[in-house]
Amino acid sequence: MLKNYFKIAIAVLKRRKFFTFISLFGISFTLAIIIVVTAFIDHAVRPGYPDVNRDRELYADRMHLKSSKNQSNINGGPSFYFVNHYVANLKTPVKVSIQSNGSATNSYVNNKKLVNRLRYTNDQFWQVLQFNFIEGKPYNKQQVDNAEKVAVISEDMRNAYFGEDAKALGKYIETDNVQYRIIGVVTSLPATSNVFADIYVPYTLSKEDLHNTGLIGGYRAIMLFNSRDDFKRARDEYNQMVAKLPRDPQFDLVYTYADTYPETFTRGLPFAEGEDAGVTTFLIIATIIILLFLLLPTLNLVNINISRIIDRSSEIGVRKAFGASSRTLVYQFIVENLILTFLGGIVGIVLSFIILQIINNAGLVDHMHLAINLHVLFITLLACIFFGLLSGVYPAWRMSRMHVVTALKAQ
């Protein structure tokens, strides 16, 4: 039966080539746009170099202080004191990485200025995040405790400072008016990564006053666990720790949470409330936006489909006269439409592949590589089915209601 439908569908598509082109164009471009957008989101959220353990990590990267007396409040990142003294001493995490948000600073080589990003980290940073070392190795706990002036730099930084592919191990780099001995070079990351930096140095070298006991500062912690099953226990422990924090009399309400990576994005949006980071609300809103975006191509397709049905009224009339039920006809038409959508889907995948190649080669963000992966393909498949049903159901219903006599009489 399906095979027959398939044959009919292909025959119909071949008959009116211009209409087939319009339908395919609409479907494939719409799907290509969806694929490209999901590839961006996928790139931002899914674990990747160097944060490969993202699935079993929780982040402490926001601190919100409020006053119970008036409206005043401060928002920011946690301070070094908070992440080092409280978060790093939690029992559930296996490892806790501490890192500063990074600040831009300058180096001057051969009368050329280099703007680079400097991040202060602890030694566990290198265990939580799996960097690929081209040269040397990371600094260890002892080096951090002794405040040794050592640095791990990125490949891009090495190339800019020492020249293309020059060995940098053991050499000195001067930035922020300080000389650091290079003990490692790592593969560069895209600037969009939350652990991106050009130079990583031990936190003990920070120019800030690390003994300041304020809760707001420019740091964050990444907690690594054995498995996701520990998240519940970890969050309970985190919340208990927060409840026991010493309070500032002016800002006595403290809000900070251990969030999964996607939650760190939605936490900053207005619909995050208390412990709920608002991922669900965000997904609902995103779905509504995508549906609105699909509205125009769908309407277009419905219009074209209706025109095509009228074209086929004699066929419908004959089939009805020979006893085909409305249901069979609706079913057939929807299957045909799904076939068309899937053809469009294939073209769309090819198109989006080309678009992604162009984006990757254009070097929008250095080291960002967008790709279609299984996740994205799955979403595309869902979009195809949805699109096919949405644009097929109404015309099919119109078709099935056609009277036999009028259908036969037309033309």
Partner: protein, 392 residues
């Protein structure tokens, strides 16, 4: 004739309902696109109001342990003298974090005549005007003597002046800011600074003087002479790094910051426009297909009209007229929807932005429909009456 066209379209409203909806949605999309284009263009064509060429800036924090307000002020003076003494430096000014093309903006709420409004607040010193080449419209800029006052002297920008005082003279009048300045006396009005980017409307704002009560770290704005090169910059960097021990120093160039600011705004807009472009191509193709189809189905009708003497021109005119009448109905509904934006003052844009955008969107849709119906109507007009009448 026109009445007749509308009657024809109205009679077929059931068949063409979906087509009308499609045109309606396309209109809404184009209205949104044109509103953005018009708004950005209007902002882009404003005067900038200051000069960013050869201007560098950097931020610093007070050295640790420096708590005494006198030593903080003295430290600021010391830095200023030191930078000013360099031969390649033309002017130096200090500001709070709210600098042109910076990441921070500081907002406050001011009161006048029992009404109130939001305004940007800038804390700057007396050299700000010369460093950035700010234009005075009325009154004067700060001088050293403004540190002593009864009512805090402030300089306001033109947008604020227009909102608060209209066409009246503003100099000498009082405004109130309960949060920051208290009761303040306007001593001057300056031309708006388009300081948030080339495509952003300058906000209403006022400038207060960075006086001896200002105790936080600050931004240093340096106007350098054209001969200042990287060698000088590295020297400046060294000097400042030694003078300010606890801050990682990053010297920024305002012309580059401006490009970054503009790009941040334009990239999502360009992405949106590209998507809207694809949607419209899609709609255009669909419209063409549907019109072509429905006109083809009316062969016998057209043949009859031709047989009783209608010319080719009048046939294609009628068919195109019908398509335009159809879109007029959608556009009326769309305009009704679009008019709500200026009426309800959504997004706080000027109403002429919406009106121009509405006009452009209407024009665009008409043009689109006209182009899409051109070929099908000509095709229909070429039908031979004998052939068409024979068909059934």
């Amino acid at each position: 004739m026109i009445k007749h066209l509308f009657k024809l379209t109205w009679n077929k409203k059931k068949q063409t309902f979906l087509l009308m909806t499609e045109i309606f949605v396309s209109f809404i999309v184009m209205f949104a696109v044109f509103t953005m284009v018009v708004f950005y263009y209007q902002n882009y064509s404003r005067e900038r109001g200051f000069n960013y060429e050869n201007v560098w800036n950097l931020g610093y924090d007070n050295p640790p342990g420096m708590q005494n307000i006198d030593s903080i002020v003295a430290f600021r003076q010391y830095l200023k003298q030191m930078i000013k003494a360099m031969p390649q430096v033309q002017d130096v000014s200090f500001s709070d974090a709210n600098i042109p093309f910076g990441d921070a903006n500081i907002e406050t709420y001011i009161n006048y005549n029992k009404a109130g409004m939001n305004a940007e607040i800038y804390t700057v010193d007396e050299d700000y005007k010369n460093t950035l080449n700010v234009q005075i419209v009325e009154g004067r800029w700060f001088t050293k003597q403004d540190d002593v006052f009864r009512e805090r002297p402030v300089v306001i920008n033109e947008t604020l002046k227009k909102k608060v005082f209209g066409d009246e003279n503003a100099v000498g009048k009082l405004i109130t800011d309960a949060g920051f300045g208290g009761t303040m006396k306007v001593i001057g009005v300056i031309h708006d600074l388009k300081d948030k980017g080339d495509y952003v409307r300058p906000p209403a704002g006022y400038y207060k003087k960075m006086d001896t009560s200002y105790s936080r770290g600050a931004q240093i704005i340096i106007k350098v002479k054209p001969n200042a090169d990287a060698a000088f910059e590295s020297k400046l960097y060294k000097t400042l790094s030694n003078a300010i021990p606890n801050t990682s120093i990053d010297i920024k160039h305002m012309d580059k910051e401006r490009i970054i600011k503009n790009t941040q705004l334009l990239v999502p807009v360009i992405v949106l426009f590209t998507i809207a472009g694809f949607l419209i191509i899609n709609v255009a193709l669909g419209l063409f297909g549907v019109l072509w189809y429905s006109i083809n189905r009316r062969k016998s009708e057209i043949g009859l009209r031709r047989a009783i003497g209608a010319s080719r021109g009048s046939i294609s005119k009628q068919l195109m007229g019908e398509a335009l009448a159809l879109s007029t109905m959608s556009l009326l509904a769309g305009t009704f929807f679009a008019v709500q934006f200026p009426l309800l003052n959504v997004f706080n844009l000027a109403s002429n932005t919406y009106l121009i955008a509405n006009g452009l969107a209407v024009l665009f849709i008409y043009l689109l429909v006209l182009i899409c119906s051109l070929y099908p109507s000509r095709q229909a007009a070429a039908i031979y009456p004998a052939e068409a009448l024979h068909e059934d």
